[in-house]
Symmetry: C2
Amino acid sequence: MTECEPFRRIDPDALESFVADVLREVGVVDEHASLLGRALVRADLRGIDSHGVARLETYVRKFEAGGFNPDPDIGAERIALAFARVDADDGPGQAAAVRAMDAAMDMARDAGVGTAVVENSNHFGTAAFYTQRAAEADFIGVSLTNVGPDVVPYGGTEALLGTNPISVAVPTNREFPITLDMATSVVAMGKIDHVAAVTGEEIPDHWAVDADGNPTTDPREVAALRPLGGPKGYGLAVIVDALCGLLSGARASPEIGPLYDEYDEPMRLGHFVTAIDVSAAMDPDDFRARIDEYVDSLKASPTADGVDEVLLPGEPEARRRRENERRGVPLSEGTHESLGRLADRYDRPLP
Amino acid sequence: MTECEPFRRIDPDALESFVADVLREVGVVDEHASLLGRALVRADLRGIDSHGVARLETYVRKFEAGGFNPDPDIGAERIALAFARVDADDGPGQAAAVRAMDAAMDMARDAGVGTAVVENSNHFGTAAFYTQRAAEADFIGVSLTNVGPDVVPYGGTEALLGTNPISVAVPTNREFPITLDMATSVVAMGKIDHVAAVTGEEIPDHWAVDADGNPTTDPREVAALRPLGGPKGYGLAVIVDALCGLLSGARASPEIGPLYDEYDEPMRLGHFVTAIDVSAAMDPDDFRARIDEYVDSLKASPTADGVDEVLLPGEPEARRRRENERRGVPLSEGTHESLGRLADRYDRPLP
């Protein structure tokens, strides 16, 4: 939301209720409708509009057409003392991933660490939603998901890998955990779509390739994304696929169904989460104090031209969240119109 | 070794014995001397010269001056069912990290997953040495280490973070595991030193900064490295520090002692390793078959101009290893001279 002024700001609690109400109208079970409201609005609060309520209309279509199961039987099976497998039963990824992270935290309370893989799942929104849940309970949280193919392998020209994101969150004494949440491509497709639609400017040639697999600077010619730093982002994306897709029994990126268009098709992707219980290693107060000291040393760095302050991973999003909680969730005109259509259809006034 | 022809090739087994013999002369206990021989030569075999026998003379100095403990009491304490802490007692990082990975695999056999942190450790060479050890036993292995400050935080101008590498290895039916092993900076300092010394060419401005913290294209002006992809590599480096330095009780990157110069100073850095037992999730044969199918789908991608084949993470290194096992370990003139000095000093003929 840095490039343009929001069309309107909406109270976050009211927006969350609206999302949940719409989803209940579509037949989504109460618990999942509430969770999706919280997850989507949280993304908007943190400025991750691409994973916020802008997705609601698509989710509704997926639920209506059967690609997302509105009443899934999400089962967690503990396959070892510290390892669980969750079958999402084609339900929303958010519900399955919360279940997986909660199982990982439960196991970590006993074993120091707990891991869960999720199969038969769908789009789970922002990976940070699950790691921050863990960090707020004094666990170091890890969450990964594979997604459908948008990214070429290093040296290849065909989109076979997902943007396969990685999130890790670490407890702090600040009002937010240190939170990494990154795609393993240079940029997300949404960013290129935005440039193509809004500014039309050239993009750097390491972002994407055209239909022939050649690097392109024209955002309208983009056919696939390039991995972050060449072999590094490629390697990270492959590892995410191995953990989320292959180890869980889910599909790997090349086989994952689309979020858009084929609304009756479940995506059948997978997630991988881990929780590490800080208290197994040391008193969490001591750990957070050690983190504080470390953060102070990073913040003490002189800054580059035009930079006011060295920020922690997750700090820009935490600042946006604080502002948006006070001023309201900023919605673009397109997102506002999309919610308006849902409001009319389900006779739920848009707040 | 792509830029210049090696000065000489040496039989890998003979080189390994030479390294171990020299270290035994310095007082390193037998088990660790052998392990260091294997670890350093393995790095050279895989083409990672910067972490191979070129380091031996520095290691010898560290052992002699007391920065590395030649006879450490490396203790592994199981602090939870699936979580261990290893105190390296200022010994060589390789010995501590092998101990940690073996503990992680033992715990994972019971619990599905096992994690170990290491404190009071030193330089551990290539992170892939430990993850490949795990993958060869049908575990997915993760290893991380923090190292001393060479990298600026995103938006900052002072070297406060290490290149803090990440390795993950995944079992396959091929002759090598899928192996990611990457620094979280754009490039390693060694690469810039090489450009400065050998070609003197300009470097891309996203690689490094000068003494004022400004991006530089002159390899002789480089004062610190830049993180991979800006906030992404920065975030990864911070997470590695949190897991390796802060959770273990070791030092974080800004406080880590140098490998060079202050030879009597222990580095007191930390490692983090995890092993995931594939057999907890599925029959390892089935897992490797799933990986095979996935690898085939990546290999089927059309290739970019000038690229013969899409390679897996770790495949270029596996190819070099195969060649070097056959033809001998290639040593540069500088490394050969360095080993020659040790051969003279300890009266051990260089093979």
